[in-house]
Assembly symmetry: none
Homo-oligomer: 287 residues x 2
């Protein structure tokens, strides 16, 4: 391993001292590193949305005399990287000192995401997006002990995009108050992973009896609610930790948010603008 100080490191060292425009630029540089730096200064600046002087200033800040010098350094790195082919191709970034624990955790997460996508039926995804984008329906969400944050995250975005969205309280004893308003036009979105919660299953079947459409996010093994639910998303959650990872669930949730937003298009945009106005006029704790 070469002891050469790599441009990437210099950027990281200076990370704190970078101005906003320089940060935009360094983002572009790091994104397709090091190839993105091997274009003309004009194109690079354009790609980053900054001006050419900014590029030069960054080059100077990193200790180079001018842009060509920085580029030469990148060129050399790219050369070195290409010469040593497959050997260092896949796998962890070179020269990192992470703990093995972190590494295996991250790797497990990637596997989970991959497999979750693979196991997800595109038809299910489309059905979910369509149901949740339908504003004639009203939506109720609820998560379990761990997944309550996922439910909250979904709720938070849905509420911005469309009307008629409710997040249920965590206390089962108030659920009847929500149930009373649910009917065949309603949608109940539940999150239930390992350590499945009997309360949730109970709620699901009560809702089902009222004709509610039940959507379920669960783990690879499947919560008991799977039988009741109309659509089920199975996400992989196992990681080398005492805790389960809900990242794969969040991936689907975020993708759904994007899809729903697209489906609702203009409706959502108007709503968001109106919201922004209201936020602006209710700002408090401001100087």
């Amino acid at each position: 391993m070469k002891r050469t100080v790599i441009v990437k490191d210099k950027i990281k060292d200076q990370a704190g001292a970078l101005t906003p425009a320089e940060r935009l630029l360094s983002d572009v540089l790091l994104r397709d590193y090091p190839m993105s730096g091997l274009q003309s200064i004009t194109k690079l600046a354009g790609a980053a949305g900054v001006s050419t002087p900014t590029v030069i200033r960054l080059a100077r800040k990193l200790g180079y005399d001018g842009f060509p010098e920085l580029q030469a350094a990148l060129h050399e790195e790219a050369s070195a990287q290409i010469k040593r082919p497959i050997l260092k191709r896949e796998g962890w970034p070179q020269g990192r000192e992470d703990s093995p624990a972190f590494r295996s955790f991250a790797e497990a997460v990637f596997d989970n995401l991959n497999l979750t996508i693979e196991r997800l039926d595109p038809a299910t995804f489309d059905a979910l997006a369509k149901i949740l984008a339908d504003t004639r329906r009203d939506i109720f969400l609820l998560g379990g002990r761990i997944t309550r944050s996922n439910a909250d995250y979904f709720f938070n975005h849905l509420q911005i995009i469309r009307p008629g969205v409710t997040l249920l309280s965590q206390s089962p004893n108030v659920w009847p108050q929500y149930l009373i308003d649910m009917g065949p036009q309603s949608v109940l979105v539940l999150f239930d992973i390992r350590r499945y919660e009997a309360d949730l299953a109970r709620l699901a079947s009560l809702a089902k009896e009222r004709g509610v459409v039940v959507l379920l996010f669960t783990d690879q093994w499947g919560s008991p609610i799977s039988k009741t639910a109309d659509h089920v998303v199975n996400a992989l959650i196992e990681v080398p930790s005492s805790w389960d990872s809900t990242l794969a669930i969040n991936l689907i949730v975020e993708a759904l948010i994007a899809a729903i937003q697209t489906e609702r298009q203009q409706g959502a945009r108007d709503r968001i603008e109106e919201l922004e106005d209201m936020f602006r006029s209710t700002r408090i704790f401001r100087k």
Copy 2:
């Protein structure tokens, strides 16, 4: 695997039809392929010991319009060759009928996770884990409009693992009540991404004045709080959506949870068992 005709192949195809000077040139091109072609035409000609018109003639002979076009092709090849998913993500599953939108969304998320890991300083991660595992400190968490769920998720797990964890209310007007209890032994964990919230920055500096250790989770551009904070985690959040993705933030949070749990070892386990007992005896709404 792409079937793209590579510049190298074109050179070999034409090998017979090359003039002596062109052969000199193609030798140089193939020698440090494809990087040697990524310099100015003048330097390349110089390196090969030929004149610039020769370079242009060869480019034309290979079917390109001029030297820049040939260079662009080489640039792309080099890019493709260097680009390696840090954690290999097998290509997209075969024969799937997902919408292109879902696919590009997922791909963006993977890029974000990869780059976030790459940009994360292991020392920062370790420092965070150590600070948060220290039970002599008390922890306060708070997120913004979008990141409140991330804060909640972190809070939820931390609270199970260790004592002295508080999630701040979203209303700024009650923050003073929390601030009053913060001191040098306290840790304030903030989440602040794009659409940075001035209230949070205000809180951060007030806390800093009291000697509180401030930890920040933000995006690639960096919230203004970055200056105040003792440790900063930059996660990439951009995806093809009207919304930002907080998955990368969650990845770090989950990894931290795992690390903290490990650090606390037995202490955490006892606590969790005790908790389980209590859960068992307070179950309600059960058949």
